[in-house]
Amino acid sequence: MALQEKLTKTAALTGNEAAAQAMRQIHPDVVAAYPITPQTEIVQLYSTFVNDGIVHTEYVAVESEHSALSATIGAAAAGARSMTATSSNGLAYMWEMLYIAAGLRLPIVMPVVNRALSGPINIHCDHSDTMGARDAGWIQIYSENAQEMYDNLIQAVRIAENPDIMLPVMVTMDGFIISHGMENVELLPDRAVEEFIGEYRYPYALLDIENPRTIGPLTLQDFYFEHKRAQADAVVKAKTVILKVGEEYGQLTDRSYELIESYRMEDAEYALVVLGSTAGTAKYVIDELRQDGEKYGLVKIRVCRPFPAVRLGEVLSRVTAVGVMDRADSFSGEGGPIFAEVRAALYGVSHRPHCINYIYGLGGRDIGPDLIRSAALDIKSLKDGSESDSLVRYLGVRE
C-alpha cells in the first residue's frame, strides 16, 4: 500500500505506519537503524521514503543495534537531528550506548516497539525491554494506541531538544498489538509538524569547525559526579517541559497530554494503574463497572521517566485500593517495576490506599476485559492485612 495516499487528515494506519509517518514529518537529518521484529516495518518504510526522495535523510544501514545507536550518537553530536528505532533484544544490545547518549545529553528520539526479552525466545509484547532500560537516563513515554505513538513522537522532539533538558527520549508502543494493528489515526499536515518541532538546535555541533570542541572526554573523581547531578536535574525539569509541550500540542490538535491520564477518577473508590495498550482495554472495563454502579477509575502512566510520583500520589490518595498492572517482572521477588515505584510514590501521602500488583501479559499473553475485570474486583476485597498474603499476583498465567 503506497503510504503517500494516506496523507489525508485521518487515515487507517498500523502503529508502525503511524510512527514512520511521524518520522517522515520530523524529517531527521540522519537515521541509522537495524531491523528487528516488530520494529522492522518502521525503518523499512523510512528507508523507502529515503529511496523515493520523499525525505532527504542520510540513512545509515548498520550491522547491529549497538552500531545503530552509536552512529545516531555520532550524528547527533555532529549537529544533525538523528533518530533510530528498535525493539526487545535490539534495545538490550544498545545497552552501553543508551547511557552514553543520555550522559552526553544528546537529544535523540527513538521509537521502541515493546517486545519481550529472550529467553525463551519470543517476539510478542511485554515491557521487559524498556522497563529494563528505565534507569538509562532516557525520558520514557508509553503510548496507548497508534494515534498516541504518532503524537508522542512529535512531542518527543520538542522535549528532547529543549535547552533545559537535552536528553534522549524513547517513545514506546506495544509490539504487534499496536505496531501491527490498524486503527484510525489523525495526521497533522507536514508544515504543522515542521513548525511545531522547529529547527534542530544542538549547541555543541562537532561539524561547527569554527568552534572546535571535545565531546565525550574522560571525567574521573573530579567531574563525573557533577555531570550526573546536572543530568538528574534535567530529568526533574523535564516534567514541566513535557506538560508545556503536551498543552501546546493540545492547542494544535485537541489532544493534549500530561504525565498521567486520569480516567473516571473523580469519585473513584478503586483504581487500576496501567500503561500501554492495556489502558485502552481497561477503560472499556471501567466503563462497564461504572454502568454496574461500581466506583472504579483508571490511571494511565504516560511518562515513566521522569516518574510522575507526585501526580500519582495526588490522584491515588483518594481511593481505597489500587491495583498496579505490570507487563514485566522485575525479578526482585517483590513484584514488577511500576508496582515498586507506585508504592514508593504512595509512601508520602496522608491517606495511603491498599496497593497490590498484577503481573500480566508476558510474552504477548492476551489481556482481555474479563481478566482485567477479575483484577478490579479482586482489589475490592482488600482489607488491612490482607495484602500481605500475596502482594504480587500473576494475572492470566496457568497454575
Binding site: M1, M182, N184
Partner: protein
Amino acid sequence: MTNMLEIRWHGRGGQGAKTAALLLAEAAAAAGKHVQAFPEYGPERMGAPVVSYNRISDTPITLHSAVLSPGYVAVLDPTFIGSIDFTAGMPENGALLVNTDTPALQLRERLGLQNDSIKVYTIDATGISEANIGRPIPNTSMLGAMVAVAQVMELDDLLQDTERRLEKKFHDRPRLIQGNLAAITQAYKEVECR
C-alpha cells in the same frame, strides 16, 4: 459499544486474509467508521492457516485485546472445512461466510450445524475472482461479500475507496482495477444465505 462489529478471517498464508482485514478497515475508516484490523501472528508460511480480525464501530474503540467472540467469521479457503472449528466463540445469531461453490444449505449439513443460531452465507469467491480478475485470489470478492453480510457500509462507498487505493497500487494495470471492482460488486450481490 453494542454497535461494534467483530469479524474473524480464516485463510491460508498467501491468500490475503490479512489484506482483506486491512482493506475492510481502510474502507470503513474512509466511510467515517472507527476501525481496527490486526492479524494473529504465528509462523508465517505460505499455506499455513492464518487468522486476522476486524473491529468496526461508530464510536472510538479502546479495546486492545483479542477478538474472542466474533459476530462474523469469514473463511477464505473451503479446504479448511472439517479441520478448523470456524464457529469457535461465535455468539447466537452470528454469521459465517464461506468461500465455496457448495450451496449454503448443503454446507450447513457438512459443517454439522444443527440449529439456526448461526447463519451460514456462501459465495464462490474463488470462481468470481477467476472470472473477473483472472486469478484465484479470493480476498476482494470475500471483502464484497462480507460488507454485504455484516452491512458494514454502502457498496458505492466500498467501491469508491477500493478504486482509489487500487489506482495507486496498479495505476499501470487498469483492467486489474476494474476486475477487482467487478468482483466486489458481484460478490456483494450474489452472497447466499441459509
